[in-house]
Point group: C2
DNA sequence: CGGACAGTTGACCTATTTCAAATGTGGTGG
DNA sequence: CCACCACATTTGAAATAGGTCAACTGTCCG
């Protein structure tokens, strides 16, 4: 295990730690333990399958930079993206207890990742039970996001779904400083948005136009320009409580 | 904490422990630690909200008997059930790290539950890190089920969705001895099935008829009679790997 | 300049919803 | 034992959100 680095020194772990601190009080000793986790950093190109379903895992990947998604395919070729992952997400932390994943994970952009061996996580469990609860929380947060997507997929209209996804992404990216009220970078094609929302690419195109013509937002060149955030959250029916953004300390 | 009971003595924990043992090797000492968890047993009527979203939690509920569901509502009144829970499920274990839920939990039948204080789970974390990983696994299993439901809601046809849900339920109920190849008891109305599947009650009725007329199964009087399991799994496109039924030991 | 994709648009189609009414069914009180 | 009520199921007819198909238009990059 590498020595705990100087806490002031910027590292790829920053987005991750920032996200934890936004939700829980983390002591200096705990932060050092997290930053001291052995982590093999790597770069990955866009549109690469990073983790394959059913593959036995011995490490979990922290996404330092870039965007990834987890998805499942049907034999007929239809694809459903189950969640988007942004910088600071521990994309397959659930693989630590599941041992293999039930879905693939793919990079949507070039990404920088840090691979943390499961052995190190197990060790952390012996020494820092509270940190384990915080990691456990992160996987439960993924489940909460899945539930909100189930609600969208099952019960929201196309425009509501699309607006909701954009609100969620904005909130999650803002947490790591990658979005504000004006907008954010969105490296997704309309076809990929369709795969998130259970719609077709053609219908995404029309729905996007509807949002544009209503003066809500505009997507151009991989960037979401929000014209009227309040209106966006209204059509999305967005309530971020499911993201657990301001949980008290445990 | 009450003393560890005789392991041979039947208890409400049996379905729970059976489910763990089906997936992981549990030592006698570990089983004793689980069964020794303080648990306040209670009975609950059908159609009662058992845990409310946003409510601060200090205990988690193990479902000993009966069926529950977790759901979210839209302001327009539409409801999406995110998961069904059967005997042996730790229905709001995720509340231990989330502190409050993002959804309601409701009983679908009369239920018997055991409430385990979070303090006892925290203590277990200090003494039995491996058991914590097994509990953590259970919440990750819920997330895997959510992902499969996202796939159904986003990409499967009505008949595929319905068949898939019935396959999943059958597999999960079989794990605790409540289903076999012939069928199982299903205490859901067609309206509730619709709320699971993102469809309308009317369409569930028609889809059920389609399955009946194809000789696949018949639902009558709260019981699913499976006529042709292979056909059912074929229209469902069912592959139970996402249920992690035969994981090796960690 | 050409080729590969991503985005746009129109015309038509269909799975599922909506609305409305009829038919079961199980439980309760008289 | 029957009448009645609430609720679940069934069915038909009409409406629609979103899908499908096919072509055209960027736009980026080598």
């Amino acid at each position: 295990m590498r020595p705990a680095p100087d806490l002031d020194e910027p590292s790829g772990f920053d987005a991750f730690v920032a996200k934890l601190k936004a939700r829980d009080r983390i002591s200096a000793e705990e932060e050092a333990a997290l930053r001291g986790l052995p982590a093999d950093e790597r770069d990955i190109g866009a549109d690469r399958i990073v983790v394959r379903a059913r593959q036995r895992l011995s490490e979990s990947l922290l996404l330092l930079e870039g965007m990834m998604c987890r998805f499942k395919d049907l034999p007929n070729g239809k694809r459903q993206i189950a969640e988007l992952n942004v910088a600071g997400d521990f994309v397959d932390l659930h693989g630590f207890t599941l041992e293999y994943l039930d879905h693939d994970i793919m990079s949507l952009t070039p990404c920088r990742i840090a691979a943390v061996p499961h052995a190190a996580l197990r060790e952390l469990g012996e020494t820092h039970p509270r940190l384990v609860r915080i990691l456990w929380f992160l996987t439960n947060l993924d489940a909460a996001i899945h539930r909100e997507w189930e609600l969208s997929l099952g019960r929201r209209s196309a425009i509501g779904r699309l607006a909701h996804l954009l609100c969620e992404l904005r909130a999650r990216l803002a947490l790591v400083g990658l979005a504000d009220d004006k907008g954010f970078d969105l490296p997704l094609t309309q076809a990929e948005l369709a795969e998130c929302l259970g719609l077709t690419q053609v219908h995404i195109n029309r729905t996007l136009r509807e949002l544009r013509e209503a003066g809500v937002l505009d997507i151009r060149g991989g960037r979401v320009d929000i014209r009227d955030l309040a209106a966006l959250e209204r059509v999305a029916d967005f309530d971020p409580y499911y993201l657990y953004l301001q949980r008290g300390e445990r």
